[in-house]
């Protein structure tokens, strides 16, 4: 690059060999010199900063941190050139963002109205940006592998029924809407704990990582889902960042990603328990897991029901067999009982008659005995009584008196049993069979 020489000696102001420029003339001169010096334009690399869109145009600064300080170059991407570059950027799935490292082509231009030197952008080298991204990504992966964290989250067991889901997403975006609708549409009773977080742009790395760590500390979640609605490849670089990768790798709960990229894969996807391409696919995986479990449970219940039905059928059959056996045996027993009853009935027909005949015979005998013995007994009693009467008759004083015996009594009525009982002159009364005699004792 050659530099024009300006000699401001003592020459007169109107010296043709040493002309004096007006500001506008100088600006034109500078631009002429720039075009001569960088006749075919210039490639320059740096990091985008201060990106802004103004109408159809885009402006940013290309910066580089050097040992001597910060170097800055203003870049303008005007609408016509922007239209030319857009297909290339899209093919490479890149989008200009702050912090993006780029190698761009353009023409240097001194803009007279503000006196600033800038670059009119006319081209970009996508491979440079992608290479930078890949290199940064590889470094993060290498560090995770070295720390033994690359497969850490994948090794965590995930619930067979992941109904309690922590979600890291930017609520209100299409990604969130797709994910949410998929779960709601399943009617499977998902419960969500949502961390509404920026998932791209400045600060997204730290906020996403913080959200993952916050949800990871909860004990009431089956998994954490990180979703994003897609975008440029370089925006996906957020999910190549080490803070997010570390947060996922060390999360005690399985982490699923659905970052909206059909082709590219981020470090977050690599270290996640499972990486799905889109938020919808992520929700679909959860729905599928729960539905599969529900199906398996229903199949198990069906098997249990079938087994129970089979057991019941067998039991019913066994019971029926037994009932039939019981019925047969009962029938036989009833028949035997009937036979025994018949025998008894027959015996009853004859036995009472015989018994009655015997009883009648005994009764007749008793009656005969009674008729014979009782009068005899009464006769005995009669005779015994007559004997007693005879004895009494012998003892009866009236009979004694009739036989000539008498009873003598003194004046007091006492029986005179001895001559000593009656003194001379005493009056005594003698009872005989037919009356009384009164006497006076002459001499005892």
């Amino acid at each position: 690059m050659s530099q024009p020489a300006f000699d401001f000696g003592d020459e007169p102001a109107d010296d043709p060999s040493n002309p004096t420029y007006s500001v506008g003339e100088l600006a034109d001169a500078i631009n002429d010199q720039l075009r001569r010096g960088f006749s075919d334009g210039v490639w320059v690399r740096g990091e985008i900063d201060g990106l802004r869109h103004s109408g159809p145009h885009t402006y940013f600064a290309l910066v580089e941190e050097t040992e001597t300080g910060r170097a800055v170059l203003s870049v303008s991407l005007f609408a016509p050139m922007k239209r030319n570059l857009t297909p290339l950027l899209k093919r490479s799935r890149l989008e200009l963002t702050n912090g993006m490292k780029v190698r761009i082509f353009g023409h240097l231009d001194y803009y007279a109205p503000n006196g600033r030197l800038g670059l009119k952008m006319a081209g970009i080298d996508p491979r440079f940006t992608l290479g930078e991204l890949s290199q940064a990504r590889d470094q993060v992966v290498r560090r995770l592998v070295a720390a033994g964290l690359y497969d850490a989250n994948r090794s965590r067991p995930i619930s067979r029924v992941p109904l309690r889901v922590g979600v890291v997403a930017s609520v209100g975006t299409a990604a969130w809407h797709d994910f949410h609708q998929e779960l709601v549409g399943s009617d499977l009773g998902f419960r969500l704990a949502v961390c509404d977080t920026r998932v791209q742009g400045a600060g997204a790395e730290l906020s996403v990582a913080a959200a993952i760590r916050t949800l990871g500390r909860r004990s009431d979640l089956d998994c954490v889902v990180v979703i994003r609605g897609g975008g440029a490849r370089n925006e996906l670089a957020t999910f190549d960042a080490e803070p997010i990768a570390l947060a996922i790798a060390t999360c005690p709960i399985p982490v699923l990603t659905g970052l909206g990229h059909e082709i590219d894969r981020s470090v977050a996807d690599d270290v996640a328990h499972r990486a799905l391409k889109t938020p919808t696919a992520c929700a679909g995986a959860l729905v599928e897991a729960v539905a599969e479990y529900r199906g398996a449970t229903e199949a198990t219940w069906s098997a249990v029901a079938a087994l129970a039905e089979r057991s019941l059928t067998q039991a019913r059959s066994s019971l029926t067999d037994r009932a039939h056996r019981v019925a047969r045996r009962t029938h036989a027993a009833v028949e035997r009982a009937d036979e025994r009853l018949t025998v008894r009935r027959d015996r009853m027909r004859t036995l009472p008659g015989r018994r009655l005949e015997a009883a009648t015979a005994r009764l007749d005998t008793a009656r005969s005995t009674l008729a014979r013995r009782v009068p005899r007994h009464l006769d005995d009693q009669q005779r015994a009584l007559d004997a007693r009467a005879d004895r009494l008759s012998l003892l009866d004083p009236a009979n004694l008196l009739r036989r000539g015996w008498s009873i003598t009594r003194d004046a007091d009525g006492n029986v005179v049993r001895s001559v000593r009982d009656a003194a001379a002159g005493a009056v005594i009364t003698t009872e005989v069979a037919d009356g009384h005699l009164t006497s006076r004792i002459e001499e005892p």
């Binding site: 009674l370 009693q381 004895r391 003892l395 004083p397 029986v415």
Partner: protein
Amino acid sequence: MTDSSDASTDPPTDELGYADALDELDEILRELEGSDVDVDRLADRVARAADLISLCRDRIGSARLRIDEVIADLDAAAD
């Protein structure tokens, strides 16, 4: 002779059963057949004994009538 055999304390013969009457009669006979029977009591005891004999005869007579009836009934039923 005990007070129980005193004519004034003797229970009415209607209240006596046949066996009791016979026992009392036997007792009176044994008493009268003894040598120390008081003459004054003799007539009372004989009278009591006569009552007892009469009672027993009535009972035997009644029994005979009943028995004859019963046996007649038995015979009638058997026929």
